[in-house]
Amino acid sequence: MSSQGRILKDKIAHKVMLAFVWLTIILLLVIALGLFIKAWPLFKTVSISDLLFSTTWVPYEGKFGMLSFIISTFWVTGVATVIAVPLCLLCAIYLSEYANKKVIAWVSPLIDILAGIPSVIFGIWGVIVIVPFVRDILAPMFGVSSTGYSILAGGIVLSIMVFPIVIYVLLEVFKTVPEDLRNAALSLGANKWIMIRKVLLRKAGPGIISAIVLGFSRALGETLAVLMVVGNVVDLPSNPLEAGYPLPAMIANNYGELLSIPMYDSALMLCALVLFVIVVFFNIIARIILRRIEKKIS
Protein backbone atom coordinates (compact mmCIF):
# COMPACT_ATOMS: atom_id res chain seq x y z
CA MET A 1 0.00 0.00 0.00
CA SER A 2 1.23 3.48 -0.75
CA SER A 3 2.40 5.45 2.21
CA GLN A 4 -0.10 8.19 1.41
CA GLY A 5 -2.92 5.67 1.62
CA ARG A 6 -1.63 4.48 4.94
CA ILE A 7 -1.44 7.97 6.34
CA LEU A 8 -4.94 8.71 5.10
CA LYS A 9 -6.18 5.56 6.82
CA ASP A 10 -4.44 6.67 9.99
CA LYS A 11 -6.11 10.07 9.83
CA ILE A 12 -9.56 8.66 9.15
CA ALA A 13 -9.17 6.22 12.03
CA HIS A 14 -8.20 9.15 14.24
CA LYS A 15 -11.38 11.04 13.40
CA VAL A 16 -13.59 7.99 13.82
CA MET A 17 -12.09 7.17 17.20
CA LEU A 18 -12.46 10.77 18.35
CA ALA A 19 -16.11 10.64 17.31
CA PHE A 20 -16.65 7.58 19.48
CA VAL A 21 -14.90 9.29 22.38
CA TRP A 22 -17.24 12.26 22.16
CA LEU A 23 -20.19 9.94 21.82
CA THR A 24 -19.32 8.34 25.14
CA ILE A 25 -18.70 11.62 26.91
CA ILE A 26 -21.91 13.15 25.62
CA LEU A 27 -23.84 10.12 26.84
CA LEU A 28 -23.66 11.56 30.36
CA LEU A 29 -25.33 14.78 29.26
CA VAL A 30 -27.83 12.98 27.06
CA ILE A 31 -28.99 10.81 29.96
CA ALA A 32 -29.51 13.85 32.17
CA LEU A 33 -31.25 15.74 29.38
CA GLY A 34 -33.47 12.80 28.40
CA LEU A 35 -34.68 12.30 31.97
CA PHE A 36 -35.13 16.03 32.43
CA ILE A 37 -37.26 16.42 29.31
CA LYS A 38 -39.48 13.53 30.40
CA ALA A 39 -39.83 15.02 33.88
CA TRP A 40 -40.46 18.53 32.59
CA PRO A 41 -44.32 18.40 32.36
CA LEU A 42 -44.38 17.74 36.10
CA PHE A 43 -42.57 20.96 36.91
CA LYS A 44 -45.31 22.93 35.22
CA THR A 45 -48.07 21.63 37.47
CA VAL A 46 -46.30 20.88 40.75
CA SER A 47 -43.72 23.06 42.48
CA ILE A 48 -40.24 21.66 42.96
CA SER A 49 -40.43 21.98 46.74
CA ASP A 50 -43.67 19.96 46.73
CA LEU A 51 -41.92 17.28 44.70
CA LEU A 52 -38.76 17.06 46.75
CA PHE A 53 -39.89 17.96 50.26
CA SER A 54 -43.38 16.54 50.57
CA THR A 55 -44.19 13.01 51.70
CA THR A 56 -47.61 12.82 50.06
CA TRP A 57 -47.36 10.28 47.26
CA VAL A 58 -50.78 9.78 45.71
CA PRO A 59 -50.28 9.38 41.96
CA TYR A 60 -54.02 9.20 41.24
CA GLU A 61 -54.45 12.71 42.59
CA GLY A 62 -51.35 13.99 40.92
CA LYS A 63 -49.45 14.30 44.21
CA PHE A 64 -45.86 13.25 43.80
CA GLY A 65 -43.99 14.12 46.99
CA MET A 66 -40.88 11.94 46.97
CA LEU A 67 -39.34 12.87 50.30
CA SER A 68 -40.06 9.49 51.91
CA PHE A 69 -38.30 7.72 49.04
CA ILE A 70 -35.29 9.99 49.28
CA ILE A 71 -35.09 9.56 53.06
CA SER A 72 -35.47 5.79 52.70
CA THR A 73 -32.67 5.72 50.16
CA PHE A 74 -30.32 7.48 52.55
CA TRP A 75 -31.40 5.26 55.46
CA VAL A 76 -30.65 2.03 53.63
CA THR A 77 -27.40 3.37 52.22
CA GLY A 78 -26.42 4.78 55.60
CA VAL A 79 -26.97 1.44 57.35
CA ALA A 80 -24.96 -0.31 54.63
CA THR A 81 -22.12 2.19 54.99
CA VAL A 82 -22.00 1.87 58.77
CA ILE A 83 -21.69 -1.90 58.47
CA ALA A 84 -19.35 -2.00 55.50
CA VAL A 85 -16.80 0.71 56.34
CA PRO A 86 -15.20 -0.76 59.49
CA LEU A 87 -15.10 -4.26 58.02
CA CYS A 88 -13.61 -3.08 54.73
CA LEU A 89 -11.10 -0.83 56.43
CA LEU A 90 -9.87 -3.64 58.68
CA CYS A 91 -9.77 -6.09 55.79
CA ALA A 92 -7.91 -3.67 53.52
CA ILE A 93 -5.31 -2.83 56.18
CA TYR A 94 -4.80 -6.53 56.76
CA LEU A 95 -4.41 -7.32 53.07
CA SER A 96 -2.12 -4.40 52.38
CA GLU A 97 0.12 -4.49 55.49
CA TYR A 98 -0.02 -7.84 57.25
CA ALA A 99 -1.17 -10.62 54.96
CA ASN A 100 1.47 -12.67 53.18
CA LYS A 101 1.35 -13.46 49.49
CA LYS A 102 -0.34 -16.81 50.00
CA VAL A 103 -3.27 -15.27 51.85
CA ILE A 104 -3.64 -12.54 49.24
CA ALA A 105 -3.59 -15.12 46.44
CA TRP A 106 -6.53 -16.79 48.18
CA VAL A 107 -8.52 -13.78 49.22
CA SER A 108 -8.37 -11.53 46.17
CA PRO A 109 -9.98 -13.94 43.69
CA LEU A 110 -12.78 -14.54 46.18
CA ILE A 111 -13.41 -10.81 46.44
CA ASP A 112 -13.42 -10.69 42.63
CA ILE A 113 -16.08 -13.38 42.58
CA LEU A 114 -18.12 -11.48 45.16
CA ALA A 115 -17.93 -8.41 42.92
CA GLY A 116 -19.34 -10.39 39.99
CA ILE A 117 -22.38 -11.85 41.74
CA PRO A 118 -25.60 -10.38 40.32
CA SER A 119 -27.87 -8.23 42.39
CA VAL A 120 -30.76 -10.69 42.24
CA ILE A 121 -28.65 -13.42 43.86
CA PHE A 122 -27.93 -11.12 46.81
CA GLY A 123 -31.65 -10.43 46.91
CA ILE A 124 -32.68 -14.06 47.01
CA TRP A 125 -30.09 -14.76 49.71
CA GLY A 126 -31.43 -11.79 51.65
CA VAL A 127 -34.95 -13.19 51.46
CA ILE A 128 -33.82 -16.65 52.57
CA VAL A 129 -31.30 -15.68 55.25
CA ILE A 130 -31.34 -12.03 56.31
CA VAL A 131 -35.08 -11.36 56.45
CA PRO A 132 -35.79 -14.26 58.86
CA PHE A 133 -32.67 -13.27 60.83
CA VAL A 134 -34.01 -9.75 61.32
CA ARG A 135 -37.53 -10.99 62.05
CA ASP A 136 -36.65 -13.77 64.50
CA ILE A 137 -33.46 -12.60 66.15
CA LEU A 138 -32.66 -8.90 65.74
CA ALA A 139 -36.17 -7.45 66.09
CA PRO A 140 -37.07 -9.41 69.26
CA MET A 141 -33.71 -8.34 70.72
CA PHE A 142 -34.94 -4.75 70.56
CA GLY A 143 -38.41 -5.77 71.67
CA VAL A 144 -40.00 -4.84 68.36
CA SER A 145 -42.03 -7.00 66.06
CA SER A 146 -40.98 -6.78 62.43
CA THR A 147 -41.77 -8.74 59.30
CA GLY A 148 -38.05 -8.76 58.65
CA TYR A 149 -38.54 -6.91 55.38
CA SER A 150 -36.88 -3.76 56.62
CA ILE A 151 -34.30 -1.07 56.09
CA LEU A 152 -31.91 -3.07 58.23
CA ALA A 153 -32.26 -6.14 56.00
CA GLY A 154 -31.69 -3.95 52.96
CA GLY A 155 -28.66 -2.35 54.60
CA ILE A 156 -27.08 -5.67 55.53
CA VAL A 157 -27.48 -7.07 52.00
CA LEU A 158 -26.22 -3.83 50.47
CA SER A 159 -23.18 -3.72 52.74
CA ILE A 160 -22.01 -7.07 51.36
CA MET A 161 -22.57 -5.83 47.83
CA VAL A 162 -20.29 -2.84 48.34
CA PHE A 163 -17.46 -4.75 50.08
CA PRO A 164 -15.54 -5.37 46.84
CA ILE A 165 -15.53 -1.83 45.52
CA VAL A 166 -14.62 -0.27 48.86
CA ILE A 167 -11.82 -2.78 49.40
CA TYR A 168 -10.47 -2.29 45.85
CA VAL A 169 -10.31 1.47 46.22
CA LEU A 170 -8.81 1.26 49.71
CA LEU A 171 -6.08 -1.07 48.49
CA GLU A 172 -5.32 1.28 45.61
CA VAL A 173 -5.15 4.18 48.04
CA PHE A 174 -2.83 2.34 50.43
CA LYS A 175 -0.58 1.48 47.50
CA THR A 176 -0.08 5.18 46.85
CA VAL A 177 1.49 5.75 50.28
CA PRO A 178 5.22 5.64 49.52
CA GLU A 179 7.17 2.69 50.87
CA ASP A 180 9.90 5.11 52.05
CA LEU A 181 7.46 6.81 54.38
CA ARG A 182 6.60 3.48 55.99
CA ASN A 183 10.25 2.53 56.29
CA ALA A 184 11.10 5.92 57.78
CA ALA A 185 8.51 5.39 60.49
CA LEU A 186 9.66 1.85 61.16
CA SER A 187 13.32 2.90 61.33
CA LEU A 188 12.45 5.44 63.99
CA GLY A 189 11.40 2.54 66.15
CA ALA A 190 7.69 2.52 65.51
CA ASN A 191 6.18 -0.91 65.36
CA LYS A 192 3.95 -1.77 62.46
CA TRP A 193 0.77 -0.75 64.24
CA ILE A 194 2.05 2.71 65.17
CA MET A 195 3.21 3.14 61.60
CA ILE A 196 -0.27 2.22 60.33
CA ARG A 197 -2.01 4.58 62.70
CA LYS A 198 0.30 7.55 62.48
CA VAL A 199 1.52 7.30 58.90
CA LEU A 200 -0.62 5.10 56.71
CA LEU A 201 -4.08 6.10 57.90
CA ARG A 202 -3.16 9.77 58.11
CA LYS A 203 -1.56 9.86 54.70
CA ALA A 204 -4.40 7.89 53.19
CA GLY A 205 -7.14 9.87 54.96
CA PRO A 206 -8.65 11.64 51.94
CA GLY A 207 -8.38 8.45 49.89
CA ILE A 208 -10.24 6.52 52.57
CA ILE A 209 -13.00 9.09 52.46
CA SER A 210 -13.26 8.80 48.70
CA ALA A 211 -13.41 5.00 48.96
CA ILE A 212 -16.30 5.35 51.38
CA VAL A 213 -18.06 7.88 49.16
CA LEU A 214 -17.68 5.61 46.12
CA GLY A 215 -19.12 2.65 48.02
CA PHE A 216 -21.90 4.87 49.31
CA SER A 217 -22.85 6.07 45.85
CA ARG A 218 -22.71 2.53 44.51
CA ALA A 219 -25.17 1.53 47.23
CA LEU A 220 -27.50 4.45 46.48
CA GLY A 221 -28.49 3.03 43.12
CA GLU A 222 -28.67 -0.68 43.88
CA THR A 223 -32.10 -1.83 42.88
CA LEU A 224 -33.21 -5.40 42.78
CA ALA A 225 -31.52 -6.80 45.88
CA VAL A 226 -32.82 -3.95 48.00
CA LEU A 227 -36.27 -4.07 46.44
CA MET A 228 -36.57 -7.72 47.43
CA VAL A 229 -35.85 -7.28 51.14
CA VAL A 230 -36.69 -3.72 52.12
CA GLY A 231 -40.46 -3.99 52.46
CA ASN A 232 -41.55 -1.27 50.03
CA VAL A 233 -43.96 0.70 52.19
CA VAL A 234 -44.49 4.37 51.37
CA ASP A 235 -43.88 5.98 54.73
CA LEU A 236 -41.29 8.09 56.44
CA PRO A 237 -39.19 5.50 58.27
CA SER A 238 -38.08 6.37 61.79
CA ASN A 239 -35.86 3.40 62.59
CA PRO A 240 -34.02 0.71 60.63
CA LEU A 241 -36.38 -2.06 61.71
CA GLU A 242 -39.21 -0.47 59.79
CA ALA A 243 -39.88 -1.05 56.14
CA GLY A 244 -38.58 1.52 53.69
CA TYR A 245 -39.00 2.31 50.03
CA PRO A 246 -35.81 3.63 48.39
CA LEU A 247 -35.92 5.47 45.08
CA PRO A 248 -34.51 2.69 42.85
CA ALA A 249 -36.94 0.14 44.29
CA MET A 250 -39.82 2.52 43.74
CA ILE A 251 -38.87 3.14 40.12
CA ALA A 252 -38.49 -0.57 39.42
CA ASN A 253 -41.72 -1.56 41.15
CA ASN A 254 -43.97 0.87 39.34
CA TYR A 255 -42.82 0.62 35.77
CA GLY A 256 -45.90 -1.48 34.96
CA GLU A 257 -48.40 1.26 35.68
CA LEU A 258 -46.18 3.81 34.04
CA LEU A 259 -48.49 4.79 31.24
CA SER A 260 -51.90 4.31 32.84
CA ILE A 261 -51.84 7.27 35.23
CA PRO A 262 -51.29 10.81 33.93
CA MET A 263 -47.92 12.33 34.80
CA TYR A 264 -46.83 9.09 36.44
CA ASP A 265 -44.11 8.49 33.88
CA SER A 266 -42.84 12.03 34.42
CA ALA A 267 -42.74 11.43 38.17
CA LEU A 268 -40.78 8.21 37.80
CA MET A 269 -38.33 9.83 35.40
CA LEU A 270 -37.92 12.65 37.90
CA CYS A 271 -37.11 10.04 40.56
CA ALA A 272 -34.48 8.61 38.20
CA LEU A 273 -33.15 12.12 37.59
CA VAL A 274 -32.91 12.83 41.34
CA LEU A 275 -31.04 9.55 41.80
CA PHE A 276 -28.77 10.43 38.88
CA VAL A 277 -27.96 13.85 40.33
CA ILE A 278 -27.22 12.48 43.81
CA VAL A 279 -25.00 9.69 42.50
CA VAL A 280 -23.11 11.88 40.04
CA PHE A 281 -22.56 14.49 42.76
CA PHE A 282 -20.99 11.95 45.15
CA ASN A 283 -19.00 10.34 42.36
CA ILE A 284 -17.51 13.64 41.30
CA ILE A 285 -16.42 14.42 44.86
CA ALA A 286 -14.79 11.01 45.26
CA ARG A 287 -13.04 11.20 41.90
CA ILE A 288 -11.69 14.69 42.54
CA ILE A 289 -10.11 13.49 45.78
CA LEU A 290 -8.63 10.43 44.07
CA ARG A 291 -7.23 12.45 41.16
CA ARG A 292 -5.55 14.83 43.59
CA ILE A 293 -3.86 11.94 45.33
CA GLU A 294 -2.71 10.53 42.00
CA LYS A 295 -1.32 13.88 40.98
CA LYS A 296 0.61 14.30 44.20
CA ILE A 297 2.32 11.00 43.62
CA SER A 298 3.26 11.52 40.00
Binding site: H14, M17, T24, G34, P109, L275, N283
Partner: protein, 282 residues
Protein backbone atom coordinates in the same frame (compact mmCIF):
# COMPACT_ATOMS: atom_id res chain seq x y z
CA UNK B 1 4.93 1.29 73.79
CA UNK B 2 3.33 -1.60 75.60
CA UNK B 3 -0.08 -0.09 75.00
CA UNK B 4 0.52 -0.12 71.26
CA UNK B 5 1.57 -3.74 71.36
CA UNK B 6 -1.67 -4.77 73.00
CA UNK B 7 -3.57 -2.57 70.61
CA UNK B 8 -1.82 -4.15 67.67
CA UNK B 9 -2.72 -7.62 68.89
CA UNK B 10 -6.36 -6.68 69.36
CA UNK B 11 -6.57 -5.08 65.95
CA UNK B 12 -4.77 -7.97 64.34
CA UNK B 13 -7.50 -10.27 65.57
CA UNK B 14 -10.17 -7.80 64.44
CA UNK B 15 -8.64 -7.57 60.97
CA UNK B 16 -8.65 -11.30 60.54
CA UNK B 17 -12.22 -11.49 61.80
CA UNK B 18 -13.30 -8.77 59.35
CA UNK B 19 -11.61 -10.51 56.44
CA UNK B 20 -13.21 -13.74 57.58
CA UNK B 21 -16.67 -12.17 57.71
CA UNK B 22 -16.27 -10.80 54.19
CA UNK B 23 -15.18 -14.15 52.77
CA UNK B 24 -17.75 -16.01 54.82
CA UNK B 25 -20.56 -13.89 53.42
CA UNK B 26 -19.54 -14.96 49.91
CA UNK B 27 -19.40 -18.62 50.88
CA UNK B 28 -22.68 -18.31 52.74
CA UNK B 29 -24.39 -16.83 49.69
CA UNK B 30 -23.05 -19.50 47.35
CA UNK B 31 -23.85 -22.29 49.79
CA UNK B 32 -27.41 -21.04 50.31
CA UNK B 33 -28.05 -20.88 46.58
CA UNK B 34 -26.65 -24.37 45.99
CA UNK B 35 -28.45 -25.86 49.00
CA UNK B 36 -31.81 -24.33 48.10
CA UNK B 37 -31.55 -24.65 44.34
CA UNK B 38 -30.13 -28.13 43.90
CA UNK B 39 -33.29 -30.08 44.95
CA UNK B 40 -35.29 -28.24 42.30
CA UNK B 41 -32.74 -28.62 39.54
CA UNK B 42 -33.86 -30.82 36.72
CA UNK B 43 -33.18 -31.32 33.06
CA UNK B 44 -36.57 -29.71 32.38
CA UNK B 45 -35.41 -26.48 34.01
CA UNK B 46 -32.69 -25.87 31.44
CA UNK B 47 -34.23 -27.52 28.41
CA UNK B 48 -37.85 -26.34 28.30
CA UNK B 49 -39.69 -23.07 28.14
CA UNK B 50 -42.53 -22.40 30.60
CA UNK B 51 -45.61 -24.41 29.69
CA UNK B 52 -49.19 -23.46 30.50
CA UNK B 53 -49.68 -22.83 34.21
CA UNK B 54 -45.94 -22.76 34.86
CA UNK B 55 -46.28 -19.98 37.40
CA UNK B 56 -48.85 -22.05 39.30
CA UNK B 57 -46.53 -25.00 39.59
CA UNK B 58 -47.14 -26.83 36.33
CA UNK B 59 -44.37 -28.09 34.10
CA UNK B 60 -41.73 -26.30 32.16
CA UNK B 61 -38.36 -24.66 32.65
CA UNK B 62 -36.58 -21.39 32.23
CA UNK B 63 -34.97 -21.96 28.85
CA UNK B 64 -36.67 -18.76 27.66
CA UNK B 65 -34.80 -16.78 30.31
CA UNK B 66 -31.47 -18.52 29.75
CA UNK B 67 -31.56 -17.95 26.01
CA UNK B 68 -32.97 -14.44 26.49
CA UNK B 69 -30.16 -13.53 28.87
CA UNK B 70 -27.53 -14.90 26.48
CA UNK B 71 -29.05 -12.97 23.57
CA UNK B 72 -29.22 -9.77 25.58
CA UNK B 73 -25.73 -10.10 26.99
CA UNK B 74 -24.21 -11.35 23.74
CA UNK B 75 -25.75 -8.60 21.64
CA UNK B 76 -24.85 -5.83 24.03
CA UNK B 77 -21.29 -7.11 24.50
CA UNK B 78 -20.67 -7.11 20.75
CA UNK B 79 -22.17 -3.64 20.33
CA UNK B 80 -20.22 -2.32 23.31
CA UNK B 81 -17.00 -3.75 21.91
CA UNK B 82 -17.48 -1.78 18.69
CA UNK B 83 -17.75 1.43 20.68
CA UNK B 84 -15.24 0.69 23.43
CA UNK B 85 -12.32 -0.46 21.33
CA UNK B 86 -11.95 2.80 19.35
CA UNK B 87 -12.19 4.82 22.58
CA UNK B 88 -9.54 2.71 24.29
CA UNK B 89 -7.24 2.83 21.28
CA UNK B 90 -7.68 6.57 21.04
CA UNK B 91 -6.78 7.00 24.69
CA UNK B 92 -3.79 4.68 24.59
CA UNK B 93 -2.31 5.11 21.13
CA UNK B 94 -3.35 8.47 19.74
CA UNK B 95 -3.26 10.22 23.09
CA UNK B 96 -0.62 8.24 24.86
CA UNK B 97 0.74 11.30 26.63
CA UNK B 98 -1.27 12.41 29.63
CA UNK B 99 -3.17 15.53 28.79
CA UNK B 100 -6.06 17.48 30.23
CA UNK B 101 -8.29 15.97 27.54
CA UNK B 102 -7.39 12.36 28.31
CA UNK B 103 -7.92 13.00 32.02
CA UNK B 104 -11.29 14.51 31.18
CA UNK B 105 -12.27 11.47 29.11
CA UNK B 106 -11.26 9.07 31.87
CA UNK B 107 -13.09 11.12 34.49
CA UNK B 108 -16.28 11.14 32.43
CA UNK B 109 -16.02 7.39 32.05
CA UNK B 110 -15.54 7.00 35.80
CA UNK B 111 -18.72 8.98 36.40
CA UNK B 112 -20.62 6.96 33.79
CA UNK B 113 -19.38 3.81 35.48
CA UNK B 114 -20.94 4.94 38.75
CA UNK B 115 -24.43 5.56 37.36
CA UNK B 116 -26.88 2.95 38.65
CA UNK B 117 -28.38 0.50 36.20
CA UNK B 118 -31.92 1.58 37.09
CA UNK B 119 -31.09 5.04 35.76
CA UNK B 120 -29.85 3.48 32.51
CA UNK B 121 -33.11 1.54 32.47
CA UNK B 122 -35.20 4.67 32.89
CA UNK B 123 -33.14 6.43 30.22
CA UNK B 124 -33.51 3.46 27.88
CA UNK B 125 -37.22 3.71 28.44
CA UNK B 126 -37.31 7.37 27.39
CA UNK B 127 -35.29 6.43 24.30
CA UNK B 128 -37.83 3.72 23.52
CA UNK B 129 -40.71 6.18 23.74
CA UNK B 130 -38.79 8.63 21.59
CA UNK B 131 -38.27 6.10 18.81
CA UNK B 132 -41.66 4.46 19.23
CA UNK B 133 -40.14 1.10 20.18
CA UNK B 134 -41.94 -1.46 22.34
CA UNK B 135 -40.25 -3.51 25.02
CA UNK B 136 -38.03 -5.70 22.91
CA UNK B 137 -34.77 -7.55 22.62
CA UNK B 138 -33.35 -4.61 20.68
CA UNK B 139 -34.30 -2.02 23.33
CA UNK B 140 -32.82 -4.28 26.02
CA UNK B 141 -29.60 -4.73 24.08
CA UNK B 142 -29.20 -0.98 23.52
CA UNK B 143 -29.76 -0.18 27.20
CA UNK B 144 -27.36 -2.88 28.35
CA UNK B 145 -24.79 -1.63 25.84
CA UNK B 146 -24.85 1.81 27.43
CA UNK B 147 -24.50 0.20 30.86
CA UNK B 148 -21.45 -1.91 30.02
CA UNK B 149 -19.54 0.54 27.82
CA UNK B 150 -17.84 2.25 30.79
CA UNK B 151 -17.09 -1.13 32.39
CA UNK B 152 -15.54 -2.48 29.22
CA UNK B 153 -13.52 0.65 28.47
CA UNK B 154 -12.12 0.83 31.98
CA UNK B 155 -11.11 -2.81 31.98
CA UNK B 156 -9.41 -2.52 28.56
CA UNK B 157 -7.82 0.79 29.44
CA UNK B 158 -6.18 -0.75 32.47
CA UNK B 159 -4.39 -3.42 30.43
CA UNK B 160 -3.44 -1.07 27.61
CA UNK B 161 -1.83 1.29 30.11
CA UNK B 162 0.65 -1.44 30.95
CA UNK B 163 2.08 -1.64 27.42
CA UNK B 164 5.65 -0.39 27.68
CA UNK B 165 6.52 2.84 25.88
CA UNK B 166 9.38 1.13 24.10
CA UNK B 167 7.01 -1.10 22.18
CA UNK B 168 5.30 1.91 20.66
CA UNK B 169 8.62 3.54 19.87
CA UNK B 170 9.86 0.39 18.19
CA UNK B 171 6.74 0.25 16.07
CA UNK B 172 6.95 3.91 15.07
CA UNK B 173 10.62 3.67 14.28
CA UNK B 174 9.82 0.94 11.77
CA UNK B 175 7.62 3.44 9.99
CA UNK B 176 4.25 2.17 11.21
CA UNK B 177 1.43 4.68 11.52
CA UNK B 178 -0.45 5.07 14.78
CA UNK B 179 -3.38 3.14 13.36
CA UNK B 180 -1.14 0.24 12.38
CA UNK B 181 0.50 0.35 15.77
CA UNK B 182 -2.93 0.25 17.38
CA UNK B 183 -4.19 -2.76 15.46
CA UNK B 184 -0.99 -4.72 15.03
CA UNK B 185 0.84 -4.00 18.27
CA UNK B 186 -1.50 -2.69 20.97
CA UNK B 187 -4.41 -5.03 20.34
CA UNK B 188 -2.24 -8.05 19.78
CA UNK B 189 -0.17 -7.40 22.85
CA UNK B 190 -3.19 -7.09 25.12
CA UNK B 191 -5.48 -9.65 23.50
CA UNK B 192 -5.96 -11.83 26.61
CA UNK B 193 -6.66 -8.65 28.59
CA UNK B 194 -9.23 -7.58 26.03
CA UNK B 195 -10.88 -10.99 26.27
CA UNK B 196 -11.01 -10.57 30.06
CA UNK B 197 -12.65 -7.17 29.65
CA UNK B 198 -15.21 -8.67 27.27
CA UNK B 199 -15.98 -11.48 29.70
CA UNK B 200 -16.37 -9.10 32.65
CA UNK B 201 -18.79 -6.98 30.64
CA UNK B 202 -20.67 -10.05 29.49
CA UNK B 203 -21.02 -11.17 33.11
CA UNK B 204 -22.37 -7.78 34.14
CA UNK B 205 -24.86 -7.86 31.28
CA UNK B 206 -26.07 -11.35 32.17
CA UNK B 207 -26.60 -10.41 35.81
CA UNK B 208 -28.18 -7.04 35.42
CA UNK B 209 -31.91 -6.77 35.92
CA UNK B 210 -32.82 -3.18 36.63
CA UNK B 211 -31.93 -1.95 33.16
CA UNK B 212 -33.80 -4.64 31.22
CA UNK B 213 -36.88 -4.44 33.43
CA UNK B 214 -38.17 -1.43 31.51
CA UNK B 215 -36.76 -2.21 28.13
CA UNK B 216 -36.60 -5.92 27.31
CA UNK B 217 -39.87 -6.91 28.92
CA UNK B 218 -40.58 -10.54 29.73
CA UNK B 219 -42.01 -13.42 27.76
CA UNK B 220 -42.42 -17.17 28.02
CA UNK B 221 -41.17 -17.66 24.48
CA UNK B 222 -37.71 -17.56 23.05
CA UNK B 223 -37.47 -14.40 20.94
CA UNK B 224 -37.01 -15.01 17.24
CA UNK B 225 -36.45 -11.42 16.19
CA UNK B 226 -35.02 -8.23 17.63
CA UNK B 227 -38.44 -6.62 17.90
CA UNK B 228 -39.86 -9.26 20.23
CA UNK B 229 -39.62 -8.98 24.00
CA UNK B 230 -37.02 -11.17 25.71
CA UNK B 231 -36.94 -12.83 29.12
CA UNK B 232 -33.84 -12.71 31.30
CA UNK B 233 -32.64 -14.92 34.13
CA UNK B 234 -32.55 -12.26 36.89
CA UNK B 235 -36.11 -11.21 36.11
CA UNK B 236 -37.25 -14.83 35.87
CA UNK B 237 -35.85 -15.38 39.37
CA UNK B 238 -37.49 -12.23 40.64
CA UNK B 239 -40.92 -13.05 39.21
CA UNK B 240 -40.88 -16.69 40.28
CA UNK B 241 -39.89 -15.76 43.81
CA UNK B 242 -42.81 -13.34 43.89
CA UNK B 243 -45.42 -16.06 43.44
CA UNK B 244 -46.96 -17.67 46.53
CA UNK B 245 -46.57 -21.25 45.16
CA UNK B 246 -43.71 -23.09 46.92
CA UNK B 247 -42.95 -25.19 43.85
CA UNK B 248 -42.45 -22.04 41.77
CA UNK B 249 -40.34 -20.44 44.48
CA UNK B 250 -38.22 -23.57 44.42
CA UNK B 251 -37.72 -23.03 40.72
CA UNK B 252 -36.60 -19.49 41.50
CA UNK B 253 -33.85 -21.04 43.65
CA UNK B 254 -32.93 -23.40 40.84
CA UNK B 255 -32.86 -20.51 38.37
CA UNK B 256 -30.64 -18.62 40.80
CA UNK B 257 -28.31 -21.61 40.85
CA UNK B 258 -28.18 -21.60 37.04
CA UNK B 259 -27.37 -17.89 36.99
CA UNK B 260 -24.73 -18.29 39.69
CA UNK B 261 -23.04 -21.14 37.83
CA UNK B 262 -23.06 -19.08 34.65
CA UNK B 263 -21.47 -16.12 36.43
CA UNK B 264 -18.89 -18.34 38.15
CA UNK B 265 -17.95 -19.90 34.81
CA UNK B 266 -17.48 -16.44 33.30
CA UNK B 267 -15.51 -15.29 36.33
CA UNK B 268 -13.20 -18.30 36.24
CA UNK B 269 -12.52 -18.04 32.52
CA UNK B 270 -11.76 -14.34 32.86
CA UNK B 271 -9.23 -15.23 35.57
CA UNK B 272 -7.68 -17.72 33.18
CA UNK B 273 -7.23 -15.05 30.52
CA UNK B 274 -5.85 -12.58 33.05
CA UNK B 275 -3.21 -15.15 33.98
CA UNK B 276 -2.37 -15.67 30.33
CA UNK B 277 -1.99 -11.93 29.99
CA UNK B 278 0.32 -11.69 32.95
CA UNK B 279 2.44 -14.47 31.52
CA UNK B 280 3.24 -12.69 28.27
CA UNK B 281 3.66 -9.30 29.88
CA UNK B 282 7.17 -7.97 29.37
Amino acid sequence: MKRYKIEEKVFNVLMKVATGIILLSLIWILATIVYKGLPYMSWDMVSRTPQGGFYMGKEGGVLNAIVGSLYLAGGSTILALFISLPVVLYLNVYRRKKSAFSTFIRSSLDILWGIPSIVYGAFGFTLMLLFGLKTSLLAGIITLTLLIIPIMIRAMDEVMLTIPKGLFEASYSLGATRFETATKVAIRKTLPGIVTAILISFGRAVGDAASVLFTAGFTDNIPTSLSQPAASLPLAIFFQLGTPVPEVQGRAYASALILTLLILAISLSSRYFTKRYLKNKI
